[in-house]
């Protein structure tokens, strides 16, 4: 394969942890090829075991002239503790891919590896944005009315009110920049919609958001069923509740498809009905395809980092790459920085901000 390092300078370069995930490096390389077909401006730096990856890249002519391969000796396994990954994983594919973003060689990093390790390393290497105390994990969820962004999904088990306010701000800017909602509505996840309910933290966050000029509109409290109802454009919560909500949603989707399969297999007539309905089912499956919603974003870092589901396939990994591409192309981090500057008068200084490549869009 061609070493195209020199041609990678500039825009739309994505660092890929080629060793992360259950089916790496195969799905990483195949996913990159798919993503490149969709976004011809993309270029990749693969980090991982050279002898495993080089033959895989060679199979995709589309990747040859837009990819570099960097050999990395170590791999972060799925059961490595974040603290250990941080100490002993300096030569891992994951760490070196993140380093490439900090060094300005790539604009974003995508990994299907260990979430905790990825977050710990990304925080350590890229640092949080000035004005953001903690990064959050966000994802897009399909709803009855369109799509909603929810955060945090597990980066922060306990959050204070100010953390939630910052999540609301980042979620609203994401909703505007990436999903195109000019004035996104924001809901704080709670167990009742009355003002008196819930933890202190959500109640204080609501009162802060009511007073502050925010890039969106505070709807108020929302409940678990509001997430998929599409009641608001942005659902804000702590990482414990958010993770449980997201996984409860995923589990229920599995349960119902399990029940549906059983129902259709229950009689010959039902099977015939299924055959006739297959087109409709295919459209439905496409609509709720978890691969379509693959790509959890680490928001609040000085660099774009996207976590793909560990068990995904090439299609899912290509979508995670697409998410990273969108975040860069829509200038998500620049918008956050502008909003923070407006809100708190915070401007990044040379010491705060590592060298970051300029974004694709303003």
């Amino acid at each position: 394969m061609t070493n195209a390092a020199t041609s990678l300078a500039g825009k739309s370069v994505i660092a890929l942890d080629a060793m992360g995930g259950d089916h790496a490096p195969g799905i990483v390389v195949d996913g990159a090829a798919l993503a490149r077909e969709r976004h011809p401006e993309l270029r990749f730096i693969f980090f991982g075991n050279e002898s495993d990856i080089a033959p895989l890249i060679a199979k995709h002519p589309i990747l040859r002239d837009c990819s570099t391969l960097r050999h990395t000796p170590d791999v972060i396994t799925s059961d490595t503790k974040p603290s250990l990954a941080l100490r002993q994983g300096r030569q891992s594919s994951m760490r070196l891919a993140i380093n490439a973003v900090a060094a300005g060689e790539a604009e974003s990093v995508v990994s299907a590896g260990n979430t905790g390790a990825l977050m710990a390393m990304a925080k350590f290497v890229l640092k949080t944005m000035p004005g953001i105390d903690r990064p959050a994990i966000a994802t897009i969820i399909p709803t009855q009315t369109g799509e909603t962004v929810m955060l945090d999904l597990g980066a922060n088990i306990e959050c204070d009110a100010e953390n939630l306010v910052q999540f609301a701000l980042m979620g609203a800017i994401f909703s505007t920049a990436v999903l195109g909602h000019p004035q996104p509505s924001i809901g704080l996840l709670n167990i009742g919609t009355e003002e008196l309910k819930g933890h202190d933290e959500v109640r204080i966050a609501a009162s802060i958001l009511r007073e502050r000029p925010i890039p969106g509109r505070l709807h108020g409290f929302v409940e678990g069923n509001d997430i998929t109802a599409g009641t608001v454009d942005v659902v804000v919560t702590d990482g414990f509740s958010g993770n449980i909500a997201l996984k409860s949603i995923e589990g229920t989707a599995h349960l119902i498809s399990h029940f549906l399969r059983q129902a259709f297999a229950s009689s010959l007539i039902a099977r015939l009905g299924y055959l006739l309905s297959m087109g409709a089912f295919r459209r439905l499956r496409k609509r709720v395809d978890p691969r379509r919603y693959n790509g959890a974003m680490f928001l609040g870092l000085q660099g774009v980092c996207v976590k793909s589901h560990g068990g995904t396939d090439a299609e899912g990994f290509a979508n995670a790459i697409g998410v990273a591409r969108d975040l860069v192309a829509r200038g998500f981090n620049q918008r956050i920085a502008e909003e923070l500057a407006r809100q708190y008068g915070i401007t990044a200084t040379a010491e705060d901000m590592p060298v970051l490549p300029t974004g694709d869009a303003s």
Copy 2:
């Protein structure tokens, strides 16, 4: 209508808050008639506005000889704060129905009214069982492998480790007594299955449960998707996370049925397919029918109290009555008391325990 008060002494008497819920008193009376058809041993005391309820009862010959009607002047509305309900609701249908259980006139109470008010009043009037610090709200959830009980669903926003341990104990006994699992597996809801993850409270609860002889088997931590997967028989969590998980599950079921309707309406062939599959869909709907799972149980009180969904119909209310009946018939509270006595050497004293009717089963 016959005033059958004297014949109500003894077993299987259920006090019904006839004014609670969106469609009261109609669905309460119709639901009671349905429940009586299924369980001919049941007797009812209706609490509510006599002139509204008497004509409704008169329409059901099956109810005439097994029901008493007590006129109550006040109603707790759905937006009444629990503290206010407690202070000013002493003559309400809800309060007087609960009082009937404390007085030994009824063995259980069922209401489709304001959850917070019902819990506050039930706690105040019935008291928690000796050895249980806080009551919990529990419900049964359909899973890929059968049914799981989950608690708490919102009675306690914050829980310490000992609360969670007590919920585990009550959930396990419920699973054995009502769902028939001889050795139920218990999972603590968390955001990862590793021992290091989660709040202090869940981690400490896990270590306590690992050491104590419990009426079941500790599986360990489970995640949101494990609830409907049926990974464990009992899912234990705090009221904040439990409420969000339950409502996320409900919301996802709505989302998917919304998508299914759209998919089947999308073409003539899909509609024909739907017609052929209708039998299968009917079975599926029956399986996940929220009315079938109506009836959240308040566990840990010295008396049986069941909360029906506020928006349910007669079928759903009949199921909530069935839940109350099962808890009494299977001697759930006696089993809890026996287990607490075994665990902590706690025995109820005359002062602790209000006069309770003896259960239907030992």
